[in-house]
């Protein structure tokens, strides 16, 4: 196996050069360059923090797309991993006598490990459930988690309604936080995309397309479904830990179905089974929400503008438009248009 990795690393420079020259590679590099330039353009913590939130949700949405778009397991309870890792990270950084000595990345690793363990358990529990039953099952576990952490009697070890607060951020410098999260997002995306392109990814896709057929091809679908759950929960947990350090707190509401549905909407808007589409969907959601919020603050009596300042309203319309005109998600539709434009420019 190490020889394979060695071979891949040696071929990397040539591979990267070829990739950048392709359309998709070029666009990706362009977006990454834009993201890297942002902290150079502004020191304003407010704008930087919005981008950080978008990047955290990108990781979260991508983890959901990995499970649903590539393995066919549609989860309506992904907030479970967001929350369990959030609590893990927060507890490590605030609650115990060794907390002051725990670095943020140490707490993050613990949070991710807890999330993977829960991913394993949820995967095993939901094994026999398919389609709508899997969705309901995961959503139920999510609601159960929320209520479990709310129980006043468990306050001594589960922190109750108020959760944990005064969670330190990764750094007091917003630019440092931005670069760190950007780095983590890039690594997460690359990892997830490479897995989907590997032989294991092919097996995941076969389970998505025809689980019975995959069994008939000799694949232990149970094993691979649980593995997919664990990989997905790893990255969802990463997002959850980062979110706790972003919000500086965590409470039972992190488990609520809203966040599970939100990630679904982001992934669907961007494009299911694309991984990078989830990032696009997350950025669209977060940035558009901010624009709408500032619209609300203007204080207008114009009924159209009042309607437009309500995120639920706007995103419902947006979702309907996407389903009607770009059913494969915005990413694919946009790339197609851009590609035609690109060809025209190059005179093809």
């Amino acid at each position: 196996m190490f020889q394979k990795i060695q071979k891949k690393l040696i071929g990397l420079p040539a591979y990267l050069k070829d990739w950048i020259l392709t359309f998709k590679g070029g666009i990706t590099i362009f977006c990454l360059v834009l993201l890297f330039i942002v902290p150079l353009l502004t020191q304003n913590a407010f704008y930087l923090e919005i981008m950080v939130l978008a990047m955290i949700y990108s990781i979260f949405a991508a983890s959901w797309d990995f499970l649903a778009g590539f393995t066919g397991q549609v989860s309506f309870g992904h907030a479970i991993f967001l929350g369990i890792s959030g609590y893990g990270v927060s507890a490590m950084l605030v609650e115990y006598s060794f907390s002051p000595f725990v670095p943020w990345w140490g707490a993050l690793i613990v949070g991710v490990l807890i999330s993977v363990l829960i991913g394993f358990i949820v995967g095993i529990i939901c094994l026999r459930l398919k389609g709508p039953y899997l969705a309901l099952g995961t959503m139920t576990i999510g609601v159960m988690m929320m209520n479990l952490f709310k129980i006043a009697e468990f306050k001594s070890f589960l922190w109750g309604d108020e959760g944990i607060s005064a969670v330190p951020a990764i750094s007091s410098d917003s630019t440092v936080v931005y670069i760190t999260v950007l780095f983590l997002m890039i690594i997460s995306m690359i990892t997830m995309i490479q897995i989907t392109k590997s032989n294991t990814g092919t097996i995941f896709k076969s389970i998505r397309d025809d689980e019975t057929g995959a069994e008939a091809s000799g694949i232990n679908t149970t094993k691979y479904k649980v593995i997919a759950f664990m990989i997905s929960s790893l990255f969802a947990g990463l997002a959850g830990g980062l979110l706790a350090m972003y919000n500086r707190s965590v409470n039972p509401l992190i488990f609520q179905p809203l966040f599970s549905f939100l990630v679904l909407v982001m992934a669907a808007m961007g494009g299911i089974a694309t991984i990078s589409g989830s990032a696009l969907g997350a950025f669209i959601y977060i940035l558009l929400s901010e624009v709408l919020r500032s619209l609300e603050e203007i204080g207008t009596t114009n009924p159209v503008l009042i309607a437009l300042s309500d995120p639920s309203f706007v995103f419902s319309i947006l979702l309907i438009l996407i389903i009607r005109f770009a059913s494969e998600g915005i990413l694919k539709a946009a790339l197609e248009r851009l590609k035609n434009f690109w060809d025209v420019i190059l005179g093809r």
Binding site: N199, T202, D210, G213, S217, G218, I219
Partner: protein, 246 residues
């Protein structure tokens, strides 16, 4: 050449309906056996029981002296038994090559494909079923005949010793049937034991040296085609009483 498949007193009940009734037979390694019976006789249920997609109500199935009764389908595949389905199924969003690569990535498939790599191995299988020029195309655009070839390709990806073919000729034109027939014959020549069901009786009876006939879940005849064709019970099962079998 020992016994590769031994089925003893196999019974499957779905509630009040007995789909397979006290079925017993043996197949020797390298055999080429047909399974016939009118619609609803239970042929696909027999295949589902052998391949693990259904668990028997009673009875036993032994593959190469290993008891495979009630095992999970993927475990049975990894022991060397592969099957195709009556209604063609494929991994719709994967390329033809990837469709076959999946079988080469099973535990058994990896043993055989390790040396040259799963994709290379899958390519050679795709070529052997005559679909290599469509390697990058997804199955949605393929004609029915090619889909049947793909099914066989997927089944042999794990280098099975016993191949169960469920209605491999169903829905095929005459030329397409000839192609599939040659493919199956070659597999049998290479040593793969073939057990296939068929509806197109005339072709099947000329193809296989041995036929098992079933009716309403029960085994009613087992022997060379001419003998089975002239068996009175078989004739009644297909045609009702008082008719000859052309």
């Amino acid at each position: 050449m020992g016994i590769i498949l031994e089925v003893k007193n196999l019974t499957k009940k779905f509630g009040g309906l007995t789909a397979v009734n006290d079925f017993s037979f043996e197949i020797r390694r390298g055999d080429f056996v047909g399974l016939i019976g009118p619609n609803g006789a239970g042929k696909t249920t027999i295949f589902n029981l052998i391949s693990g997609f259904e668990k028997p109500s009673s009875g036993s199935i032994r593959f190469d002296s290993t008891d495979i009764t009630g095992l999970n389908p993927y475990k049975i595949v990894n022991l060397g038994v592969a099957r195709t389905f009556q209604l063609v199924r494929s991994f719709k969003f994967l390329s033809l090559l990837d469709n076959i690569t999946v079988s080469c990535l099973s535990k058994r498939g990896k043993q055989f494909s390790k040396k040259i790599g799963a994709e290379e191995y899958a390519s050679s299988i795709l070529a052997s079923v005559g679909l290599i020029d469509k390697a990058t195309i997804p199955p949605v655009v393929l004609p029915h005949g090619d889909l049947r070839k793909l099914q066989i390709g997927k089944a042999i990806g794990g280098n099975p010793e016993l191949l169960l073919l469920d209605e491999p000729f169903s829905g095929l034109s005459f030329e397409e049937q000839v192609g599939i027939t040659n493919l199956i014959k070659k597999l049998n020549d290479d040593g793969v034991t073939i057990f296939m069901t068929g509806h197109v009786l005339r072709e099947l009876m000329t193809l296989v040296p041995r036929v098992i006939a079933m009716h309403q879940g029960k085994l009613i005849a087992d022997g060379p085609p001419e003998m089975v064709a002239n068996n009175k019970i078989v004739m009644e099962a297909y045609l009702g009483k008082g008719e000859g079998f052309a």
